[in-house]
Symmetry: C2
Subunit: 456 residues, 2 copies
């Protein structure tokens, strides 16, 4: 179908669909954060309302017109990159936020609302939103729901799924499913919202969500620890988890090559000198007038005495707190500065991290003696960003993923599958699981117009 | 099909299906905790393995034989009560527990494992399991997953859904979906496990689960507070939530008629005298060597000074802690002692609880001036057990549910729909939602053999 014919079929009455066909205007809809542009779509629709999304999808469904769904375009698996013949549905003009309900600790927002906007609304009501990722200024709530975003505070708040108390989504044929009551407890039949969380847009388009907000801590502290090995780090994690319970909010790892890179990039102006094989950033939250920070120091000092850490700096001011997190932000900055690298967003059971690191090093040496591994990530939840510099990318990546799968892990811990991780899905999902996903897709989107060719 | 003919068709080879056809032996498979027995089924199958469940379901699927799925039979919505013509599939012989993985803080258990067994396994490894309900000695993990059980610590740990890091389930045709890696982060395609959590057995039978375990607190404290109104209770909740963050684990409410009943039943031997319109039990967990309990007292004393509570007792020993929780356990004991009552497991947004209580009182007085309301429950998450003594049950129940729905609430907060709440589902689920549930049911269980007639 030509774009002109399709546009003529679109419902005119009442819906501001924000149709855009100018090629220059569409330039920013060609790629997500992977920067690999797809073809220019025949049009981009940017509806203002759920009814507009519904009317647009119904027209696409009737015409059998495939649709690429876009949020903030911060994805790292190519899920939002348009394919040949697709039109684009962008939620970017649906970004309003309802008022914070301070009693229930919830807020209803449109799918195009930016994460940072939601975080700021929560904070202004004395609450906080549990998920935080580096792309907070651009990532949209809808995209974060569709990809079940994770980030650095999964230890405390779990992933995006756990923040969703209600959802509104539109099926491929325009049917609107609205469940925005936002109850903490509601077992009135199967929870359909779960289909759309982490569903990568296969089953429907999220238009609004009721989000859980949490108590805002009175204070936060963090520490940067030099640790001699992954084994030591895991013991330290267990001790902190046991001593701090849900007040332990983050446990991030940075392996030597990345830490050394950041140290050089910052000209040594970082809280601990390079030289240790692994660095850990731990963070805790303090509520009320608790002396919980003493526990933090007690555990860390004991860990030092027991040789679990060779050096520690604990923040004592907002400036020091920021300086420690700045090291973590440096991971992406440094690895991006190295040019074309190959990232692997894997997770393995915590107990298998030492085996993963050792075996990955061996296989990398075998496949490409010139290769370098730059590893950092969310150590506390088993999620490592295993970034490799290699000229033999095609040989290396499948082996890294195969290793993660063999150790009981995942080939995409938080980035999703999209277009770019499809080849590895069968390493971790059985034929029965893949067949079931296809069955659900056929039931909910019989013409397969939504994000066709993604995931499966 | 006669039972004999069906049994002859069952696969013999290798599977211990534990087929039971003796009428006396089947007596305990006729009802859940609602005590309303269904007809005697032609057989009860009690397989020992997932393969056995699969073989049995495949035979049922091929024969078009409907199946009632049973766990610990502690449900309160009749979901496990057999219907005419059904056979029963009980998971009671699949109750083994794997070892606790202390590093990952997980455990893999079979669906028939009892909650209390899981709690004890976690504790013996220095960890804890987040969901607790009164029926812990009988309720099985599989049943709790299928009904997304809640209980008293939802404020801290959320419901059963949040404890599930992996699942194995068998579809109606015997297909086994196994996803037991137990990763904290895994976005390798849509999460099929979510279908079976709170799915009430419509889409498949849970056979095993990988459960999340949490840090075991160093200490727990609770307090019993007499509060003058629901509004005061909600302010107290906000203050405790803000001061304690995730250390606030429970916030239970007991309204005067129930509290007075417990007081009489215990001959006054309870921590606070009756006389207040509402009582609240708050609980907090303390980790490490924190002085968090001081915050607890500080907030409560300030609440007393501000008139939010008229009396408070804070536990200072294990004995006092148990005495306060004993009051809460008395709620069920007392209301059961009143004879045939009508329970309503509703939830409303927190801010609407005062309106719900006031309007329910008015409508009850209008429908049955003789009626008495006995109300208690999980005030902190908006979930009230609104129990009514009335001779006009048929007139009263629909109005209570209608009111909850009108105030943006749920007609079944944690008990599920089963057979007994079906009539009220359309008050809270739209025709589009119900049609989508039917579509999923048709895709996953085309002959509708699993828990036919439940929920929908």
């Amino acid at each position: 179908m030509t774009s002109v014919a399709f546009i003529e079929r679109l419902p005119a009455g009442g819906h501001d669909l924000g149709i855009e066909t100018d090629r220059d205007m569409m330039a920013r809809h060609l790629a997500d954060a992977t920067r690999k542009p797809g073809p220019v779509p025949s049009l981009v629709a940017r509806p203002k309302t759920t009814e507009g999304v519904s009317a647009f999808l119904k027209a696409c469904h009737d015409a059998g017109q495939p649709v690429a769904v876009q949020g903030g375009l911060t994805g790292l698996s190519g899920g939002a990159r348009p394919l040949e013949g697709e039109v684009v549905l962008s939620l970017e003009r649906m970004r309003s936020l309802g008022p914070v309900d301070a009693v229930s600790a919830t807020i209803v927002v449109e799918a195009g609302a930016r994460l940072q906007t939601v975080q700021e609304a929560a904070e202004s009501a004395g609450l906080c939103f549990g998920v935080d990722i580096g792309a907070r200024g651009s990532a949209t709530i809808g995209g974060m729901i569709a990809t079940n975003a994770g980030g650095i505070r999964v230890l405390r708040h779990d992933m995006m799924r756990a923040q969703i108390l209600g959802l509104e989504a539109v099926l491929a044929d325009g049917t609107v499913l609205s469940s925005l009551r936002g109850l903490m407890k509601d077992n009135s039949g199967p929870n359909l919202n779960q289909l759309f969380i982490g569903g990568e847009g296969l089953f429907g388009v999220v238009t609004r969500a009721c989000l859980r907000l949490s108590a805002k801590p009175a204070a936060e502290r963090n520490a940067l620890c030099a640790v001699p090995s992954v084994d030591s780090a895991l013991v330290l994690l267990q001790r902190l988890r046991s001593a701090l319970g849900p007040q332990l909010t983050a446990f991030e790892g940075i392996f030597a090559p990345v830490y050394e890179g950041i140290s050089a990039m910052r000209r040594g102006a970082i809280p601990l000198p390079a030289g240790s094989p692994l660095y850990v950033i731990a963070e805790m939250q303090i509520f009320g007038a608790q002396a919980g920070d003493d526990v933090f120091e007690t555990v860390l000092i004991q860990a030092y005495e027991d040789g679990l850490c060779s050096d520690i700096v604990v923040s004592r001011s907002g400036r020091e707190f920021a300086a420690i997190w700045d090291v973590r932000e440096g991971c992406t900055e440094f690895t991006f500065s190295l040019g074309r690298l190959t990232g692997h967003d894997i997770s393995v059971p915590l107990r298998s991290i030492p085996a993963f690191m050792a075996e990955a090093e061996t296989l990398l040496a075998g496949l490409d003696p010139e290769a370098g591994a730059y590893v950092f990530g969310h150590l506390g939840d088993g999620n490592l960003h295993y970034v490799v510099r290699t000229g033999r990318r095609e040989a290396v990546s499948p082996e890294i993923y195969r290793l993660a799968a063999r150790l009981g892990g995942s080939v995409t811990a938080e980035h999703g599958v999209g277009l770019d991780k499809k080849d590895y899905l069968s390493l971790v999902r059985s034929p029965a699981e893949l067949a079931t996903i296809r069955m659900l897709k056929a039931a909910l989107d019989p013409k397969a117009i939504l994000n066709r060719g993604r995931v499966l």
